[in-house]
Symmetry: D2
Subunit: 346 residues, 4 copies
């Protein structure tokens, strides 16, 4: 390839200026020849013309077909602007050809982790409920107002899923002196231990944790992983924070248990979004509710652009990508890709 590598930039559903700061856009233009680079979806004929010479494609999904992939003789990477992996991509082909497939999931990790802590504290210290009471004029003062509040310091914390969000959340929890346990069937106990995490079985996690963070990416294996029977294992008065996907929870059971006051829950994701106006979770006193906002920050979006440009630079210099998440052959078919579209940060 002569000159700068050619890169197709077709980020639709995201907008160019949402993901690229002026500085990152300038870095991108310095480094590669951008093809398309517009907010609208790239027309098929333009794409088909460009793909044989493209070193990389930045896209939301691979909506270009297998044939286009077969003609991508110079392609070294597919980089998505989403937190999931492309749904319609022929991964076997990519792995055999050494084409890297990269997800922007790590770009959302800090935004979601911060929100997870914010939600946990809002529930454990009754911040949202206390604010509502003040507005309704029925607040209780001092100790009387803290009947169901507890301090996070020193409490056992359980992470369901220990991926990029878990790794970002862990240091935020560290100064509270919590012992962090994790259940993650995609990680070995040895790996978790090497990160300072106590590996535990799911039931034990639910029974022993005072704060439970549900961080697991949706997979073909974890639908309703937190079944009613499992949710009932949670300690009276504990806090469950749900920020990955409602897919992993029996949401009806969750709603009932929270409405009954069995435990508190802070919820950012729902089985349907928007959730029905009369869904009972909207009236549960022990819930803290958030409209899928954890990863949807302007700052998180700009981290996508920064990571994209950093990893394009790596690829252009003949290096492995370093910041985005690499698709792994062992795992790619296990992600619940058909939920990604509505997903975190999407």
């Amino acid at each position: 390839m002569r000159g700068k590598p050619l890169v197709i930039v077709d980020p639709h559903f995201r907008r160019m200026d949402e993901i690229f700061s002026a500085q990152d856009r300038a870095r991108l233009d310095d480094m590669v020849e951008v093809v398309w680079g517009k907010d609208e979806p790239m027309p098929a004929d333009a794409f088909n013309e460009a793909i044989p010479n493209a070193a990389a494609v930045i896209c939301a999904d691979w909506r270009y077909g297998d044939e286009a992939l077969a003609r991508a003789d110079n392609l070294r990477a597919v980089l998505t602007v989403s937190g999931g992996f492309p749904r319609h991509l022929n991964y076997d082909y990519c792995f055999t050809k050494g084409i890297r497939v990269l997800s922007a999931a790590p770009a959302f990790a800090r935004s979601v982790a911060e929100m997870a802590l914010a939600l946990a504290l809002a529930a454990s210290r009754d911040i949202a409920a206390g604010d509502r009471a003040m507005r309704e004029g029925n607040e209780a003062w001092l100790h009387a107002g803290n009947a169901s509040a507890f301090m996070l310091y020193g409490k056992p914390a359980g992470f369901i899923g220990y991926g990029s969000i878990g790794r970002a959340l862990h240091p935020l929890i560290t100064p509270f002196g919590c012992v962090v346990s994790a259940y993650d069937p995609w990680l070995t106990d040895g790996y978790l231990c090497s990160l300072g995490v106590r590996p535990v079985e799911l039931d034990a996690l639910l029974e022993t944790s005072k704060v439970i963070f549900v961080l697991a990416a949706p997979s073909v294996e974890n639908r309703a992983l937190l079944s009613r029977e499992r949710l009932e294992r949670i300690q009276q008065g504990a806090v469950l924070v749900l920020v990955s996907r409602a897919h992993v929870v029996d949401f009806d059971a969750l709603t009932e248990l929270v409405a009954e006051g069995r435990f508190k829950a802070a919820i950012d994701v729902f089985p349907a979004e928007p959730i029905s106006p009369d869904h009972p979770i909207r009236r549960a006193a022990g819930a803290v509710l958030s409209a899928h906002r954890a990863g949807a920050t302007a700052e998180g979006c700009r981290e996508i652009g920064e990571m994209l440009v950093d990893d394009l630079e790596a690829i252009a210099r003949g290096l492995p990508p370093q910041r985005m998440q690499n698709a792994q052959p062992e795992l790619i078919s296990r992600y619940m890709t058909n939920t990604i579209q509505k997903g975190k940060g999407a």
Copy 2:
């Protein structure tokens, strides 16, 4: 003194079992001879009989008079169960006689610091407002719901007052990578720098901080320190967290500026408590409101008892107290002691 040292324990307005865990109560009884040790206020005659032989007095305030103090020939320490120093104590006498006067303020530090972070995040990430919107059915989803939200990561944080709460809050903020500046007229710049804090003038702090923590104990010098003119220096969209005392703020100005949407505020303390049912702060969209609950946790109360017993042990062993806050001759007259009664954790 023969046998165990005699200690008067008269904690009223607190209750014995509120401050002493069974374990700490047992340590106390092992170590000293407890006189009184009941929830009700100790009668004057019983106190007067015991005081000449008492090595220490645990109390909420020195409501026993100067004469009793003059007869306290064996007294080595006055330890309060409150977050402030006793109001009616003759400090000059104590300092001359080498009687330690100790406040339980540090027992509240972690509880208040955790709440300060919880409130800051509830405001910065619009947790309370988002929860209200979900309940009212008018929430905005994803990015649309984050129009006034921001991430704490990397933002400049300003501490007004850097005492025990500030020292407890600082490590909670550290993993967010915030630069922490502080204004504290009772501390030298050199001391602040040695703790990794950037000393700044108050106006500069207000103008440059994205999150402002008001942590200053009330003093004779800081009434309405945050005047209207000063509050107007705060950045559009910033967050002010008020957890020490309303004394330090022009509360009317604060209410108006928050109601106007100039900045957000998370408020745990009020000029009158309960604040009037029709006070406009109760309706300000940009406020997160809490009914003086930051330090009023059961766990914080138990830290009082733990610290009391630890420092009684120190005193009994001929050592300086180590966990509670020592009254300093230079500062004692500058505290706003007549507000302590209603104070944090009181």
Copy 3:
């Protein structure tokens, strides 16, 4: 594959009980069917018989030939017991077939990082020189003995190479408040920044760092990277710590500059080992010398075994390996594999 996966364990030049604790050996036997598992090199015929059914091979190098690899129809991973990648392996074949190739380099990271700090402090605080002086009876006391000593606190530190050793060393340096800069041509600036490291050019690193850690793996590109001209850029009185490979340094120039007292050096690796008895570096006052001991600890060896078993578990469970270093197609041909044999921990 029925029953347990079959794994060839042929660790020679290492011994079985050197790398596997009793506990890890038991885990290994529980999980897989071990073939061979002896200290002596596995005979070719035994290997050839086993390889078609092997799910993994643990070895020091791939001394079995391309033909054996072609017959390895069930092979999912080649795991080495060495800190480098196998020299005689057909990597293109492995990458195309999705066979993971894993190095034990991370097992040595903590041992080498700790030694790097130990060596740095021994040089900066003149520990070794001071001890020699005490034994020779010509020591200088108190301040007089610290003429060439300096404190590490707050000094600029430069890492040449920021791989597994750098990542392990960084937290050990953190409490000293050093700004850490790094030069690593295999990493992007963006990635280094995301880890809290300041990316710099090599000349700038040499000119501005008070302590320089040479941590770069030997590559086809970095022979004598630290040429005489570059070494002369180092500050008077600074400390250079060499723990990766002598390959990256002009060792004659290094010896002369240290002998002249231009800067101090702590050296664990040499162009020939043992280095000649009359090599002048053995007499340089400003040197701290170590006989390639940084990674050669019993504890480091046991980490190899732990990582091997953890990653075999991952592979057996259909997961990506998590603890060892994955060979990357972009980099594998750039390692200086013909020096690995004598290498760190080898």
Copy 4:
């Protein structure tokens, strides 16, 4: 007092420019009126003339007599340039009059703590012994050279004394994941626990620690605290680091046990300094020897000046001192003040 406060600055045995940087000297001159301020000892008549108006005296010891103290009507603080408290001062008088007595001990904490870690690693990883072997041409390579070496990671560490040095050393040890136990008879268990330290009895500390740091200031109670009987409790192959005072150790027993190879020791302080040229410790293979250099750094001396000026500023502003160590009535008579003269940093 009109104008600037008057401060007598009589630092002899230290020199003015040794303790005051140009910047700190300028701060001093801006803030107070310096009387004397020379390297030579201040003549008695000049001192006597100045003392009635002095707000503070900076000195190495109070060599001015009780009478001068009685005439010091404006005196608010005595600040020493040494790591100990003045020997010839009437402390009862100072405490009664509210005169602060301040030691510069904290100025040495970081320098000594860094040296303590450097010495510990030099012993645990055989840095000094390995360097000697390389120079003598009898080194053993790779694993053979590490027969008596061990990694610090995860090992139990015991601190004898947990004052300013212990508090500075603890964070340097933290990234190694050591459990830190401490024995300090001047601190309560509760206080140690609140700092994340495990309080233990001395015998248990000696028996269970792999690295033992002797950090205790000499007192009237701890002469030869580490008796032969106690030293014999130390684990085979452990490391003892002695950086406070030889006073606390039976040095003959220590020498014999190290010479016998029972454990290793890194020693910065000796019962006589210089220690006799033929003292057997000078030939003990398991020793790392340093000529009382731990606190004697130029950077540590400049911290004295910085702390002096910071605390003079505090005093001038009517605040308690914040950086130097306050003499405590309970402890002052228990320090082994007659050893201070030759002491750490003295």
